[in-house]
């Protein structure tokens, strides 16, 4: 079986070319699978949550983000746990011509060409720049979700789908403020994810990040801009978070096509609660051909009004989960919303009985979706019904 060593030995490493610039004279270089934030002098201090050479690091040569290799070979990087992962990083840094001991590493499944760069300047003239790679479709999670890996008894494993942030602040920050900046970027990330209504894959909730996000904050210790006791409502804090939000939105879009338009999809939104087209199709025995059903599903997915009502119903389901309202109250209201705003009138007593029988939000959403699909099939059969 191919191993990570085989891949690194064999892969061709292209020459470095400039991808962009960060503040403080930092150049972003693309080389092989890496994005290299090359620091122009040794007057920088970095705080990184990355595994290899993380923590506070003085005078690093570079902060890098590396796309994983993909395929089975990628899994060999984790055989032996993070010690192997460190070896992989060191080996690859050598291949890139970087001194591994002076390199701060981060890793992801996202491709570096899909990185997004954003920059801003605070009202007091401090420049901030961020480069982000992002994907959470396969690894989105909400804080507190159940986790699979107990590192105390099992070898550590990474999951694909990670948000990597390398942030440069053209100021001499205290160590505490570097940590603050890292956490501000984190909070900004969770806000963007909320605004995209991106789901957790491990609960019914909206994600707050991926399981494996990493952040590096680069402080220019030689800068005349001295920052200490940074306030969360300061203009610098706002600049940091706005840069983060802008870069993250563009990185999501570039890597996975995740944006407000693609997220406004009823099937995608319902999948957060474990509902999928197959389950919906199983609710009733459709008097329709498969092609008709698929076309009706497409038609339904394009109905923004229905999707808006669906998100309201999902919000009611969330309100039940977080204890704002009782389940019966939420389901009763939702049933009435569906009957008055979504479904065609029906005098079928079975429909009535089944709607009344739904005593939880998932049952109701699934059955109503099936009825709506049936309504859509029927309406498309009527001349000019589309």
């Amino acid at each position: 079986m191919l191993t990570w060593k085989d891949i690194i030995e064999t892969e061709a490493i292209t020459g470095r070319h400039e991808f962009g610039r960060l503040c403080s004279g930092i150049t972003l270089l693309r080389q092989g699978r890496a994005m290299i934030a090359m620091l122009p002098h040794d007057g920088f201090r970095v705080l990184s949550s990355g595994f290899t050479n993380g923590g506070y690091v003085d005078s690093p040569l570079a902060v890098i983000n590396v796309t994983s290799m993909g395929g089975k070979a990628e899994w060999t990087c984790m055989e032996g746990g993070l010690e192997t992962y460190d070896k992989v990083n060191y080996t690859y840094a050598n291949k890139l011509g970087l001194d591994p001991a002076r390199t701060v590493f981060h890793g992801t499944a996202a491709h570096m060409d899909n990185a997004a760069v954003s920059e801003g300047t605070s009202s007091d003239g401090i420049k901030v720049s961020v480069v982000v790679t992002a994907g959470i479709r396969h690894n989105g999670g909400r804080a507190g979700d159940p986790a699979a890996y107990d590192e105390s008894v099992a070898v550590y494993e990474e999951e694909p789908g990670t948000i990597i942030t390398i942030m440069a602040i053209d100021a001499d920050l205290t160590d505490g403020d570097m940590f603050k900046a890292m956490l501000m970027a984190t909070e900004a990330k969770s806000c963007v994810i909320q605004e995209l209504q991106a789901k957790s894959l491990y609960s019914k909730g909206i994600a707050t990040g991926s399981g494996t996000d990493q952040v590096a904050v680069i402080s220019n210790k030689g800068s005349p801009n001295k920052v200490s006791e940074m306030q969360r409502d300061s203009d610098l804090a706002k600049t940091i978070t706005q840069c983060m939000e802008d870069a993250l939105r563009r990185a999501f879009d570039a890597q996975t096509g995740m944006n407000p338009v693609s997220q406004w999809n009823p099937m995608l939104l319902m999948s957060r609660r474990g509902l999928d087209p197959m389950m919906i199709r199983e609710e009733i025995r459709f008097p329709a051909k498969y092609k008709e059903l698929m076309e009706a599903l497409d038609k339904l997915s394009g109905n923004n009004y229905n999707t808006a009502v669906l998100t309201a119903l999902l919000n009611i389901a969330d309100d039940i989960d977080r204890g704002l309202i009782e389940e019966k109250d939420g389901v009763d209201l939702s049933r009435e919303i569906c009957e008055k705003l979504v479904l065609e009138e029906s005098d079928d007593p079975v429909v009535r009985m089944r709607l009344d029988d739904c005593d939880n939000m998932n049952d109701l959403l699934s059955y109503v979706s099936a009825l709506k699909l049936l309504d859509t099939v029927r309406s498309r059969r009527v001349p000019n019904g589309n």
Partner: protein, 300 residues
């Protein structure tokens, strides 16, 4: 959990470590090796001779503790959370007033500095999750945290277990997330904010710029005491609460660019019609909701 002693007093909340094998990463001071004591109180934030003092403005007796374990991994979250004012959404102007979150994450395992940082990331996400769960908003913006937020992650070097993963997909990360959410909500409750107090039309509308006086002025009622009686009767009606929450969610979705204003408004009007009353239209969906909440109070 390990070798620490937690003491609650009227003026101070203290965690004393019985050895010098604890380090922390703090948003005030960065890395602190050889931590012997952490105190939460109304004094000045400082660090000297192994003792970290964290200032809070609020009542120290409202510090909440949550300890969760899985197999041999233990996490204790200690939080003070006053979410009654001073809320903030990342990148936006903060709400006026005082409010704060102080969070200590005690992990009964050794780990590298980078993992202490990653634990802070996971804990910060959990703070945001707790704030989201409580549906807190100000000036029409859902909040993501507090204007003053202190996070301290603490490792124990004497436990024999060395962990490097603190992301959400690890058990350590899960425990950080769960304990943080529980401790933050616990302290927020002690400071008067719970999911039950949030089940209020007035509380929800207040977060979107419509306080009680504005709702009263929209209600058409001339008698404030009569209005208050109606408010007492209807403010926590679950059907109305769920409806208002759902319409506010659509309002947020409009502002986030998920749905166009026309479609969102149409759907929101439909919801108001089902859950509150036959809607009277105003300038936009939020104004329409506020007007109809006001009229709903006065409906027979």
């Amino acid at each position: 959990m390990g070798t620490e002693v937690i003491q609650r007093g009227a003026d101070e909340f203290t965690v004393t470590f019985m050895d010098s094998l604890h380090d922390c990463l703090s948003t005030d001071f960065g890395m602190i090796p050889g931590l012997s004591r952490i105190t939460i109180g109304n004094g000045e934030t400082s660090f000297a001779e192994g003792s970290l003092y964290i200032h809070i403005r609020g009542d120290v007796t409202r510090v909440s503790v949550s300890e969760i374990s899985f197999n041999s991994t233990f996490v204790t979250a200690i939080a003070f959370a006053d979410l009654s004012a001073g809320l903030i959404r990342s990148g936006r102007d903060a709400q006026t007033g005082d409010g704060e979150i102080v969070l200590l994450i005690l992990m009964d395992s050794d780990m590298p500095d980078s993992t202490l940082a990653r634990a802070g990331i996971t804990a910060t996400e959990a703070i945001t999750a707790a704030v989201q769960d409580l549906g807190l908003a100000y000036d029409g913006i859902p909040a993501s945290g507090s204007i003053r937020q202190t996070v301290v992650t603490i490792r124990s070097k004497d436990c024999g277990m060395y962990l490097r993963g603190a992301g959400k997909h690890t058990k350590l990360g899960e425990l950080i997330g769960r304990s943080t959410i529980e401790a933050v909500k616990g302290s927020a409750a002690d400071n008067g904010i719970t999911i039950n107090t949030r089940a209020s039309l007035m509380e929800m509308m207040d977060g979107y710029g419509y306080d009680q006086d504005r709702i009263f002025s929209l209600s058409g009622c001339q008698d404030y005491s009569q209005f208050l009686l109606k408010l007492l009767e209807k403010d926590a009606d679950p059907r109305a609460v769920a409806t208002v929450s759902a319409v506010l969610h659509i309002w947020n979705e409009i502002s986030w660019g998920l749905v166009d204003e026309g479609t969102g408004t149409e759907a929101g009007m439909g919801l108001i019609g089902v859950g509150l009353r036959e809607p009277v239209r105003s300038t936009n969906l939020l104004d329409t909701l506020a007007l109809n909440v006001a009229l709903y109070f006065m409906d027979d």
